[in-house]
Amino acid sequence: MLDYETLRLIWWVLVGTLLIGFAIADGMDMGVGTLLPFLGKNDAERRVIINTVGPHWDGNQVWLITAGGAIFAAWPAVYAAAFSGFYLAMLVVLMALFLRPVGFDYRSKIADPRWRNAWDWGLCVGGLVPALIFGVAMGNVLQGVPFYLDSFLKPHYGATFIWALLGLLNPFALLAGIISVGMLTMHGAVWLQLRTEGEIQARARGVLGWLPLVVTALFALAGVWVAFGIDGYRIVSQPPLTGLPNPLAKEVVREPGAWLTVYRTLPIAMVVPALGLIGPLLVALLARAGRPGFAFVASGLALAGIIGTAGVSMFPFVMPSTMSLNSSLTLWDAASSALTLKVMLGAVVIFLPLVLLYTLWCYRTMWGKVTVADIEERKHQAY
């Protein structure tokens, strides 16, 4: 049977997979939402854009819900410290996300242009703001978060209320936020090139002429910054990994370049950042060559590479602390019990393949170019 150490490692991979799944599936809707007011010049065009994701956004959003649930179950300590530590930021994310279900569903119900225009901007905010804040949060996690655990393991924070929110806005975190917006917008543009034709498709392709290059450049810049400008974390000593997890029992130091250690000890890991650098370039090439299907795959790999780089560089940390280094949470000591991890692994093994199967079936059923003529014909049924 799987031992506790292996189980915890598997769950690190699984949480990463769910987050990447969220970026690939729901990040696409967010990117499409961000682009909506800019690529759709009139109501019919905007309806075309919305209907490329109309039947799928809700299923896609479940990746976020499931990732949230999985972090709760597999890393309760992270779930507890992260969402309360980023309290107001999370509130803003949720409020932006609220605009999506209603935006998609209510927009077409009333023909008034002011009504529709308002929802278009709502969908734009609902895509852009969460993408930005998730990126900013990741940028902060890489630098360490101001929290500590008391002896009963309750998380406390260095700042609360508006000060906690303002503390998140530092240059590196903003760069991470912009990368996040850039990559998801790129992903959305690839989807639009794939599922539309004519004017909208041309505009999406236009965006893909420059945006992926910006993503690669900024990602490279972030890499340099991490190497030379940000201190990483290293575990000096910790109790044996076979024992029960205790986040306060290890000793941690902060030192320059520590986030690159993994690439020295395990050179193969460099594949991950390489994907993040090359993926967007491939997207630009394939989009230009008129191969949006392949571009979509490349875009997915780019997202996996960029998100994966953050996770792999920090290994085994998942939420380092600036206030009390030893309170930093790692995949070893933030994990739940062996039984819970085992039960949850069973659930993933059974249900995730099923989810992927019926999701693909749904996409296949709704496949084909969405066109203005098509929307005119089904104007009372379509979004």
Binding site: A81, Y87, F104, D105
Partner: protein, 525 residues
């Protein structure tokens, strides 16, 4: 120390976002099955009107569903944002059903709902029926897992506290899933959703009948919902969750509070129909009682007693004292004491640790609490009886009223005199909000009745919060309430608009408003 205002605000926020979410959930749970019935009749008979019915009620379903999704997003993160100690303390057990809900149920529901709303003309009618069915299964399974998690808060089985990890850990997953409280709660909750949806369809259909529009459409919708409603209302009442009230101390306390049974009465106990419970003097003023009935309902027997609050508080006092010892031993263990004796003491008193934690409201170190503090904690170990007592009575009263409506509707429909019973039709229209009130009351009784516990006998609510500030809470409560209320107003506006249009909103040309428009467009001869 614990700031009571901060705890109050945290509770108000959770209550507000959960009750808002629960405005939309019951209708989704039930209406999806009504859509399935209509669609199934269409597939079997091929009659167009049933397809129109399914399509029209799907429009209303979608308007409600959007806000269910919106408010549901909050719930997935609410424990982490506002109940971070809760999340750490019980995430090992409580997180699992939530994650499995996502994987097994919510994915199913949300993936297929897209096809339900937009994919009808992309597939055969049999395939579409399957899509409706899968959405319904997803929706209802979702409720199952959420209630497995919730039932564990009421009756925390299958888990043990670990002093090393300072949290509850799962020891028996099957016990968590097959928690008997979860099963009764599941049936009761989904059936309440079916009642809500039936009332919704009946009420709106009654309005069309009153207006004399689209009668064939309205009466068929009415018939489907009335049949479904009778069955659902019977299920809600017969399978009410009283049967779960013998399990675990929290449930026993809740039962005694619901019945305002201050002192243990000899079996079978009398049922207090109404009265004014007075927490301070522990008695119920102006009580009207029916001898014998309560014992019968609650214990399903003539000789078992229902323990009164007075005796429960005495039991709690003993357990608080034992919990003080557990807490002292735990502190010693946490600070490195490895002696066998301390370990043995802790193991012996571990099950009362939660009771010891109740003292944290009064004293930093429960092991050093005074007698007065112990008595105070014991006295506060039950919920405020007045609200539980009346919440329950409002819920049950409405439940019986709704059953009466469904039976009357069904009877007159079968007799063919429904259209003449304008009083009944009018009553049905105005009664549309009632099942929502009953459902919210049911939720309130279950969760308010659990106080002072977040997790029954394990973790007091006031310890479960995040280390945030009152400003954080005021800001977020205001944010949620304003945002939700604006969205709710929009939702109700759309709901009224489409309900008024009725099946004419399908643009088939076959229904009232379009027919009228077509008639008036013809030149007079």
């Amino acid at each position: 120390m614990i700031d009571p205002l901060f705890v109050e605000l945290s509770r108000w926020q959770f209550a507000a976002v959960a009750m808002y979410h629960f405005i939309f959930v019951p209708l989704t749970l039930g209406l999806i099955w009504i859509l399935f019935i209509m669609e199934a009749v269409y597939v079997m008979t091929g009659r167009e009107i049933y397809r129109d019915m399914s399509r029209f009620w799907t429009k209303l379903f979608a308007i409600n569903f959007a806000l269910g999704v919106t408010t549901g997003l909050t719930m997935e993160f609410q424990f982490g944002t506002n109940w971070s100690y809760y999340s750490h303390y019980v995430g090992d057990v409580f997180g699992a059903p939530l994650a499995i809900e996502g994987l097994m149920a919510f994915f199913l529901e949300s993936t297929f709902v897209g096809l339900l709303l937009l994919g009808r003309d992309r597939m055969s009618k049999q395939a579409y029926l399957a899509v409706v069915f899968l959405t319904a299964v997803g929706t209802n399974l979702s409720a199952l897992w959420i209630l497995v998690a919730n039932a564990w808060m009421q009756n925390p089985v299958g888990a043990e506290f670990s002093a090393e990890t300072m949290r509850m850990e799962m020891v028996d997953f099957a016990a968590v899933v097959f928690n008997p409280v979860a099963q009764v709660k599941f049936i009761h909750t989904v059936a309440a959703g079916y009642v809500t949806a039936s009332m919704f369809v009946i009420g709106i259909s009654a309005w069309y009948i009153l207006k004399g529009r689209d009668l064939a459409f309205a009466k068929r919708s009415f018939a489907v919902a009335a049949g479904f409603g009778v069955a659902a209302a019977l299920a809600v009442i017969v399978l009410g969750d009283e049967s779960g009230y013998e399990l675990g101390d929290v449930q026993r306390v809740k039962l005694a509070a619901i019945e305002a049974e201050w002192k243990t009465e000899p079996a079978p106990a009398a049922f207090t129909v109404i009265g004014i419970p007075d927490q301070k003097d522990m008695e119920t003023e102006y009580a009207i009682k029916i001898p014998g009935v309560m014992g019968l309902i609650a214990t399903r027997s003539l000789d078992k007693q229902v323990t009164g609050l007075d005796d429960l508080i005495k039991q709690h006092e003993t357990r608080i004292r034992s919990g003080m010892i557990a807490y002292g031993a735990l502190e010693a263990l946490r600070s490195g004491d490895k002696s066998e004796a301390t370990r043995a003491t802790f193991e012996q008193h571990k099950r009362d640790l939660g009771y010891g934690l109740l003292l944290k409201r009064y004293v930093e170190n429960p092991a050093s609490a005074t007698d007065a503090q112990v008595l105070e904690a014991a006295k506060s170990s039950i919920p405020d009886v007045f609200y539980v007592f009346w919440g329950f009575r409002i819920m049950v009263g409405l439940g019986f009223l709704l059953l009466g409506y469904f039976l009357a509707s069904f009877y007159f429909l079968a007799k063919g005199t429904l259209e003449n019973k304008r009083w009944l039709l009018r009553l049905l229209v105005y009664s549309i909000p009632l099942p929502w009130i009953a459902a919210e009351m049911g939720w309130f009784v279950a969760e308010f009745g659990r106080q002072p516990w977040a997790i029954g006998e394990v973790l007091p609510t006031f310890l479960a919060t995040s280390a945030l500030t009152v400003s954080d809470l005021i800001f977020s409560i205001a944010g949620y309430l304003i945002f939700y209320s604006v969205l709710l107003v929009i939702e109700i506006f759309l709901m009224f608009r489409f309900a008024r249009q009725g099946p004419s909103s399908l643009h088939t040309g076959r229904y009232y408003h379009e027919q009228k428009a077509a008639l008036s467009a013809q030149p007079a001869e």
